[in-house]
Symmetry: D2
Subunit: 343 residues, 4 copies
């Protein structure tokens, strides 16, 4: 049992998924840190069924000063709202543990950018330079050495995976505009009940939201290396519990062949076990990625060789949150990148 | 335009369904009464799309003392919680209008029964003797003359329609027990957001609740004429917006033939346009009744001629609430019973 | 009872929706024409529940030579596959009735275009010049006088309604490309069972198909007046029974204000009762249009005043098929355009 | 790598679930046997996404004479229709491997019973005496020594788990009748497309089928030890991909307390790690068991101490099929009963 890890905020959707993944991880002992403000109110306090025979149970520890050192934790996952992460992440680091933060608190490079997109002051901007953006496919080496990893947002994970290989090779005519039309399952909206997540409102329905103004856009711009006026991003709410499918439209600078485009992705991700490419003549779909840590990419090219459609599929709770966090942990502790994430 | 009707509580699911039905009714002018406590908080205040050309709109009137008489209303529908109905129904009656109350406030015959099943005191027990239980298939004549109609609950509508023809003919061996295993869509749980109606909680799920203790049982016992210890009633939550399918199990006193049982129903409902019988060899399903005012009944008999399964299907918001209210209105004002309810 | 109308192909989703709408139409008598190849195999032959009391039923007539004249039909709706429409539409016209064809057989202006997009020869190209494309918002006057109306496809209805007002005013920078990212409910895929429409395949899933190669693109190009290489169209399958939401992205030639864009739509559709505009600050969704004949349009403009997102919502079976067919019938017979289509 | 196992019929829902579970099993090497009639037609031959980095793949071997011995297989799972199992199970046994058959071919004790419930002759009745009914909670020791295990049906697993502890203690008044009202997700209907499993037919719908005549009843009668006229069983189709919730109603011979009933279950299943009991005051639901091998049981008792409602929840593809098969394999090969089945 190499790593001793804690989770704060385990009652939300991402936190619960994380606990479920970590429970099956081969190199880990786990404890749940009970933090009053970490979203526990959203938890379902209903008593669960109890095994007649013997089944393992989880260790719970109340959050209090010094608990991270007291429990000898090597790592803490914070699946908390950004304002709570800003409070507790520094405390954890001070006690000598590493942190993977699943909130947006440490994803942007400066306090100014945080202020602009989150409409709140960043109380710990001095930590931002050392925080590593936890997308292993882009920052594998930096993650290995990181003390603080900012786990990416779900929409950005899908969008950046599709954009980065082409943009860094300067293949895209960015001036004509890049479109990211993204669709997400309802768990992306969080566990707190509201009229917008009522079953009767969502079932048999489909809606668009945050049109041209989602705060996740900031991560995409920073990581994919494009300018704000070059990207049009729209989010939609799918009547399913989980999954993100993002359809990206762009124009190539020079006419190309589908095969060349696919090779760009194969080269970019040759050492990335969780990126998969759809062969030509297939149809991308969420069921292939849900409940897995894969990001599946599908390319189509118009007969003009210029109009390119790239579709990126992830499970928003796994590759878009908890699975990616485990992938980051594996890198930070020298384990196989896929440990606990493949059957 | 014969009838002038008002609706209080038009933002809940039943109330909104009622407004939608009444908007298409041929003999009616309608006004919506804005009552602050009638559930408007649950309403979606988001601005709706506006027609580029001309489309009719609704008349809104604030609720205040004397408004029923002031607006010359012949009838008011109260789609309000029982505690609000207890307050406003007497006020409306005093101003000379008839009332169809969609809550449980006036469905039971005595204040004692109300106290027992609703765990609250009934503030107006003197009105209970004149309130008519608004199930037209049982009380058509009394409804025609009623000033106050208590519109039935959704589960009771389905259960009573299945039980009443057999029980009144004394065909059922009640001592061995009658089972009503009922399944309802989520709109039956109301519009208020809660962890239990969150999309992610309900989707891909199915649960049982109120096992042997649903307060709707009281209506079934009273109307079908059976004793409490003779009925086992369980409710279940279907992951669909609307519809109730109730599966009833009972034992016949004397062995019979399927054909005889079906004839009992045909006789009981020969003048009831909204009761339909499934022929033998068919499969009952909600899609046939949803968005209609029909109650569909299906019978199966075991090879022993004794074990009988009766399945009853309704749309909980139409025959189980708003449509039945319109059917009651039609009777109270001498219109065709189906006016505004059939295409 | 002014119009006497027949329907061929009433067992498919569009045909059944049409019969349901026509059954409630105030100026119509209806008969169903039983045509062996019109899709009846897909029909559910299971016996339906039968009313205990009296409810209206439908008139059925076998299709045979001369039946249209024999039944004195003024109009026949053909909800048939295009290859069957090519056979029977001329026969109907020859017997003196008007036709509204819901297939793709008569939507394109030439046999050459049909050959290219439908990969089959058009057997009656001589009828194409007189066929009117049945989008009332664009061709109201021509429809009034038409003998043969080609009812539009569902995706084209949504896309053209969004594009046409801006393109005809020459406001769009077409060279940078127009994107139409369209999402449809499963009824759009037809009633024939296949692995792609199996419940377990579709539920909890979301997929893209016909990327850059849907045959409905031809209608959009023709009607909106744009060139093939200017449009990128992708279709997606939503896990819901009905509804289309299309998200369109384009760049304005000159920077504008949201208000100006909305005014362009208001002007274009000032006499169109079924087009509705979302006010600013709202969120477009399918539940507002499903089971109605409305087409709802929502506009968003980026801070640069150039990046425009237009979202168009329809019910694919109503405004995208059967409702639009009724709207066309109303125009062809001098009725109010909304007859039978509004509550 | 202790066990070398093969799977025939891996393209159906149960077979695919089995392969997914076995792929994560710690003591196993697996090969897929390609048998032309085993349901491959139902398989989706569409090319799947391919990992950019390295991910394990499966070994495929064509089915042919002698392949079981040739591949040195210790065990073969047959997830095939009963008529195919009757053909190939004897062949496998003859080659020296053990068999877990997921069909109904070997679940009943005699050829006569098979003939009656499956309406077909049993070609290998001589194998029935040695076939062990693979419900570990009832037959753990016999399964450990078995050469041929008949993996139970999904409905019977749920029903027997609920009935057996009470019936064997003679606590139930069987003469008044036992009701099993069962509801299943759509994967229970198999992968073959049909009008009954079309998404548009199932979504927003709920139906009853096989009322008082499901062939799974035979297993329940045999295993729970009750007579045919004592049980009324009805199946219903839930609009969800997976899960069975069965609500059972019965009458106790002597009035009892809820606590006593729960103790009966605790005693019966004290060494059964996959049976869980709901505490009083809870609400049973499918989401707690789906994607797990647990069977959750919930009890409610009426105030008379006689009317008992027992609710049993399983995932039809896991505890109702593939997971139970793995549990049986674990027992047959001396492994921990939970190996590969718990996180």
């Amino acid at each position: 049992m190499g790593i001793r890890a804690g989770v704060i905020g385990y009652t939300g959707y991402s936190g619960a998924e994380l606990v479920s993944l970590l429970a099956g991880h081969p190199h880990l002992s786990l404890c749940l840190l009970d933090h009053r403000k970490a979203g526990d109110a959203a938890g379902n306090a209903a008593p669960a069924p109890v095994a007649a025979g013997t089944v393992r149970s989880m260790e719970h520890v109340p959050w209090k000063a010094g608990v991270v050192a007291g429990q000898s934790l090597d790592l803490v996952f914070t699946a908390t709202p950004p304002e709570i992460s800003l409070d507790i992440v520094p405390e954890i680091l001070d006690q000598g543990a590493k942190v993977i933060d699943l909130s947006g608190a440490f994803r942007l490079p400066s306090g100014e950018q945080y202020q602009r997109w989150y409409h709140a002051e960043h109380s710990r901007p001095e930590l931002l330079p050392e925080a590593v953006y936890g997308l292993p496919e882009l920052h594998r080496d930096a993650i290995r050495k990181a003390r603080l990893v900012a786990n990416p947002g779900c929409y950005p994970t899908a969008a950046i995976a599709a954009l980065w290989p082409l943009v860094r090779q300067n293949l895209v005519d960015r001036k004509t505009g890049i479109i990211c039309d993204a669709k997400s399952g309802v768990s992306g909206a969080g566990k707190k009940p509201s009229p917008k997540t009522h079953f009767v409102q969502v079932a048999d329905n489909f809606s668009a939201y945050a049109i041209l103004e989602h705060r996740h856009v900031a991560e995409i711009l920073n990581q994919a290396g494009i300018d704000e006026q070059e990207l049009s991003f729209t989010a939609h709410l799918l009547p399913i519990p989980r999954g993100i499918l993002a359809t990206l439209y762009m124009r190539l600078k020079e006419p190309g062949m589908l095969d060349q485009i696919q090779q760009v992705y194969r080269d970019a991700y040759s050492d990335s076990p969780f990126i998969r490419l759809y062969p030509a003549g297939t149809q991308p779909e969420l069921s292939k990625v849900n409940h897995t840590n894969f990001c599946d990419i599908h390319c189509s090219l118009g007969p003009d060789g210029r109009r390119l459609v790239v579709i990126s599929c992830i499970d928003n709770l796994v590759k878009g949150a908890a699975g990616q966090a485990v992938q980051n942990m594996n890198l930070m502790f020298g384990l196989d990148e896929t440990a606990g994430l493949l059957k």
